[in-house]
Amino acid sequence: MTDILASLLIMAGLFFFMAGSIGLLRFPDLYSRLHALTKADNLGLGLLIIGLALHLRDPLIALKLLLIWLAVLAAGATSAHLIARHARRREKHV
């Protein structure tokens, strides 16, 4: 039963990863593309991690997975900010 739930959560996570990737292809400019990448992938990874934690049933591993997710959130937001800031400053100098 939990394995079915875990699989469903992982598949839901994959859906959001797919949405993020489609956004990268469909959105017209750099900033909008960053929106797709910083948001959809985070919930995708979050669902994936909840699914994995349910599947492995080990609270210690679940905590480590949660830390990985928080680290990815921080890294994703920070790198998106750096890319956007660089693009913005270059636009102003042109």
Binding site: G23, Y31, A36, L60, G76, A77, H81, A84, R85, R88
Partner: protein, 178 residues
């Protein structure tokens, strides 16, 4: 960037309680990674955490933005609750825009003013804005955050709308960050 930050560096000195806090967090992190409570692991963790705190301490001045108060953990939890709800809304929102055939976006750049004083507080606010519905932090200068807004309806009251972008987070962040 550097000039606007310089004016805050005066109050960005790290205090002894902050060192203890960093030490405790590192020690707990070590325990999490080894995954047991044997005495030799705890002793090794205590030593490693001390070495890391002393080596990295002078470069960790950003953590002086933390409020070390009894109510802070409570505010942190409230912030997490608010943040996760916003994160889920953000994801559903962006997935909907990506997958709808008409690609409904009306991008605009807006400015948000923050009342948080510390660099850590502003950093957390900027990153929270990035991870929530329809907004992306582009630049941070002093107390102004430049925000890319993916769906700005024409004729909105920009002043009120930008207040709304930051206000929810700011209210919770203020409980545990300066």
């Amino acid at each position: 960037m550097h000039t606007s930050h310089a004016q805050h560096h005066d109050d960005e000195t790290i205090s002894l309680p902050h060192y203890f806090f960093i030490y405790a967090v590192l020690f707990l992190f070590w325990l999490l990674l080894v995954g047991n409570l044997r005495l030799q692991e705890m002793a090794a963790g205590a030593l490693v955490a001390l070495a890391v705190t002393l080596a990295a301490g002078p470069h960790l001045s950003i953590f002086s933005g933390l409020r070390l108060e009894a109510a802070a953990p409570f505010h942190l939890l409230r912030y997490f609750g608010y943040f996760w709800a916003a994160l889920i809304r953000a994801n559903l929102d962006v997935a909907r825009r990506v997958l709808s055939p008409s690609l409904p976006i009306r991008p605009a750049l807006v400015e948000v003013r923050t009342e948080l004083k510390s660099n850590l507080g502003r950093l957390m606010l900027a990153n929270s804005i990035t991870l929530t519905p329809g907004t992306l932090s582009v630049d941070l200068r002093g107390d102004h955050i430049l925000v890319h807004w993916i769906d700005c309806p024409p004729g909105t009251d920009l002043e009120a709308a930008t207040r709304e972008i930051a206000a929810g987070f700011e209210q919770h962040l203020r409980g545990f960050l300066k």
